[in-house]
Symmetry: D5
Subunit: 121 residues, 10 copies
Amino acid sequence: MATDPAPKPDSLETFDNPNPTRDFEIRIDAPEFTCVCPKTGHPDFANMTLIYVPAAKCVELKAYKLYIHAWRNVGIFHEAVTNRIAEDLIAALQPKYLKLIGAFHAHGGITTTVTVEHKDG
Amino acid sequence: MATDPAPKPDSLETFDNPNPTRDFEIRIDAPEFTCVCPKTGHPDFANMTLIYVPAAKCVELKAYKLYIHAWRNVGIFHEAVTNRIAEDLIAALQPKYLKLIGAFHAHGGITTTVTVEHKDG
Amino acid sequence: MATDPAPKPDSLETFDNPNPTRDFEIRIDAPEFTCVCPKTGHPDFANMTLIYVPAAKCVELKAYKLYIHAWRNVGIFHEAVTNRIAEDLIAALQPKYLKLIGAFHAHGGITTTVTVEHKDG
Amino acid sequence: MATDPAPKPDSLETFDNPNPTRDFEIRIDAPEFTCVCPKTGHPDFANMTLIYVPAAKCVELKAYKLYIHAWRNVGIFHEAVTNRIAEDLIAALQPKYLKLIGAFHAHGGITTTVTVEHKDG
Amino acid sequence: MATDPAPKPDSLETFDNPNPTRDFEIRIDAPEFTCVCPKTGHPDFANMTLIYVPAAKCVELKAYKLYIHAWRNVGIFHEAVTNRIAEDLIAALQPKYLKLIGAFHAHGGITTTVTVEHKDG
Amino acid sequence: MATDPAPKPDSLETFDNPNPTRDFEIRIDAPEFTCVCPKTGHPDFANMTLIYVPAAKCVELKAYKLYIHAWRNVGIFHEAVTNRIAEDLIAALQPKYLKLIGAFHAHGGITTTVTVEHKDG
Amino acid sequence: MATDPAPKPDSLETFDNPNPTRDFEIRIDAPEFTCVCPKTGHPDFANMTLIYVPAAKCVELKAYKLYIHAWRNVGIFHEAVTNRIAEDLIAALQPKYLKLIGAFHAHGGITTTVTVEHKDG
Amino acid sequence: MATDPAPKPDSLETFDNPNPTRDFEIRIDAPEFTCVCPKTGHPDFANMTLIYVPAAKCVELKAYKLYIHAWRNVGIFHEAVTNRIAEDLIAALQPKYLKLIGAFHAHGGITTTVTVEHKDG
Amino acid sequence: MATDPAPKPDSLETFDNPNPTRDFEIRIDAPEFTCVCPKTGHPDFANMTLIYVPAAKCVELKAYKLYIHAWRNVGIFHEAVTNRIAEDLIAALQPKYLKLIGAFHAHGGITTTVTVEHKDG
Amino acid sequence: MATDPAPKPDSLETFDNPNPTRDFEIRIDAPEFTCVCPKTGHPDFANMTLIYVPAAKCVELKAYKLYIHAWRNVGIFHEAVTNRIAEDLIAALQPKYLKLIGAFHAHGGITTTVTVEHKDG
């Protein structure tokens, strides 16, 4: 099965934090994340939840949605994809705090959730 | 599409804290907040939850309800409106503590929640 | 509309703590609290939750139920009545810890919860 | 308060039934319907559910969404608006069967649901 | 304990059916009904649900709310009050169909629901 | 283990139907029914739901509650006790319709529900 | 992988219907049914729900539980095992009515429910 | 955006009905159906529920799962794809009864469910 | 009404901790606890939840179940019985940590939960 | 009753941590764990939840699933099996942190949950 390459991190467009003088938190739930198992070629589904405290930059919502869609035909494991998306977001936003939770649907009666957390400094 | 100006902060009427000798918490859920996306003109909906510990002043419930209604036809983004309402309330109440949580309904399969927190002093 | 006076705090009968040598917690949910809005005369409804750690005295359950019933036709605001009941209980029980949560039903699309907390000493 | 006129029925664009040889049912939930109370000027909210069996025509989803949005600043009562939308849809689609359920959010502790049903011929 | 007389049926104001050429159904949930037990004087609570198909007349929502409030201090049993309200509504509306469901909260571990149904002609 | 005799059917006191000219339904949920397994002596628990349309007589709620309590230490199987209570009620009320549903809690991973239905004439 | 033979139908012990003069329904939920996929050897799990109206005989609960346990290491498909258990029960009980619902847990993102229904005569 | 062709109906492998002498029902929930909107190229998601009464043939579960996966990159509208899958299944199984329910996730605040029903003969 | 004496603490049989080199937690929910109100003779019901970290001894599950059953006909108040069971368990197990939560069902619209906590040393 | 030996710890295959420079958490829910009671031979069921922070190694998902399946016919008590699985995982992964929660289904009205926690160093 032919799969796509991973989306480019620079597709994660940003905009300036609208209230840089006060820390606040943004949470974005993407319940329709899907990619492909590199072993079997079967689709995997996850609720991908991003929580972060912006520094200078916020992620643009529409660009983030398209970045999430771009994983649709990429072959990659649960642990790897959650870490990869987290690293892309940390590089793009350099946030004060970030947590990414990939809650994958059950596979053979087993449900996996991968959580990556980043604290600035 | 013509949109309305943001509501005036001084429409947030207050009354004297009925028990100033003891800290207590007030939580007000407004599940019917709505404003307009400045890009597309489509309506946005949110559950706007305010939690605060009053100092000298409490917000009057009916005035708060009308202030929330007044955002109905204003064009403004999720991150901006939640921060703006929080700043209006902090200015009007000068509370000991305040948290405002704007939990917006899904847009294109993506759900956004913005949380602003303020601690006195 | 004629309303009733507030119930007398001394109707809150107590009994001796059955295990004074060990701290323990008592939680009493009264989901059928009702009083009257002093502005409009319309009824207000709340789930009134009491949590406390007794010192020498516990509140007698039947007396507490009748005390809660006695607010039925009293005209008083959300913030005031929750603080008033908390102060009555603190005076009657002198507890090590007490929290009272008045979770009022929605009014014009707005839901209010008032939480009063007391720590001994 | 200035309100808008009702949306035009002919904004309900249609497309040809993709399977006219077999009866099937389409259900469209619009949980973010909002209009304005003509008495008080306060906003009203409803989950507007459409269920129909198409004859020659189906309603185009994007046009239906914009038609629903167009009621946002119209002043009209619950019973009237649900009947009006049903009549607009019946005229545009001439369906074999149609049901419209307007489930309005609570108002002063009272929740109203209006259900209009149409059977062809 | 002094209780109030039952509310007058003629307080149930009506308005003209806005779509008399098509049968439709109106459902009104009043989750905050309360009256008083004539034996013990303790308050009773119920979710009172009205479902009807109007003929010439619909019940006015605000008048219905006040009629429901007016039972607050009336001493009457579950079976009697549900039948009484149903008969008042049938007299005032002469509807094509009517159902009234009084779902009372638990009393001593026992929950009672009374359902009255009326079909025209 | 000594068990009690079954409660006497004549403890099911009745009162006159308050609206004999119109059929209506009464539902009484008793979620705290308990008796004893005659084989093992272990307690059994059930939600016992009674639904009936009265003819001349209704069952008095307090008497019914005490009748339900009176099964507490009686040794009897699920199928037998549900049929027995149904027959006692049919004899006492001679209702137009009656259904009794005994929904027993799980026993060794198996949950049993027994439903008895009676139609007059 | 070695699997067990199917349980013997005559292990389904019965007892005499305690109320043969009135039709009633018995429902038995067995949420811990498990057998083995004959292709892959992986375990399958189901909630097996039996609903029946007894004629002369009822199934003994403990024997039924052991019969259900006896499928634990049998290799058999969803459609086959649900039909097989239904036929065993029909033969043992000769009931007036019987329904067996095998609601299997998800397998590769697909959930299967098999329902067999039998009416006497 | 390049999309895939629709899957071939003959990929729906079947096996012989294991109990052809008794009608029974099979329900298969596929909550991870996904295809692509032909207008915008954005992914669509649905819970696709199949309910049928087999005649001579049942659909093989693994083949059905792969057939469902094969729609992943096909560009097609909600109403069309649900009818298309139903027709493929009816052709492959010639069942006594079949219902297919495509419950699509929300799109711009609007949720669509398409239901196709087939009765033999 | 004659009631039983409280169960003997020494009926709480124990077994040796199977992993004494590592702290771990055991939680046992007993949702079918029942005793009798000493004032009214009416039954009381509770979900009795035990959470503990064993030292040398664990409580044997079957003995604990029978101990819980033995309170069935004992007349005792909510606050007293929860403290009494906690003290019996602390004496029998000498655990590193123990919490007992007695969550009683509603009585006259009032729900009581009693929580006793013990820390070793 | 003949039971199987416990699965071998070395069947827990591992793979290299894909992001060793940042701590992250993996949670794996196995809701279909089953073993056998060594006293009665009856099956036991549990939701076995593993939460860990990997050091150099992660557990391979398919191998973990087969290891869980391998307990199916082993006779062992709740407290023992949860501790045993935790020790096997700690030995195989030498994780920075690990928690294993065995939430067993109810047995005779009593539900048991065993939680084992491990912190590195």
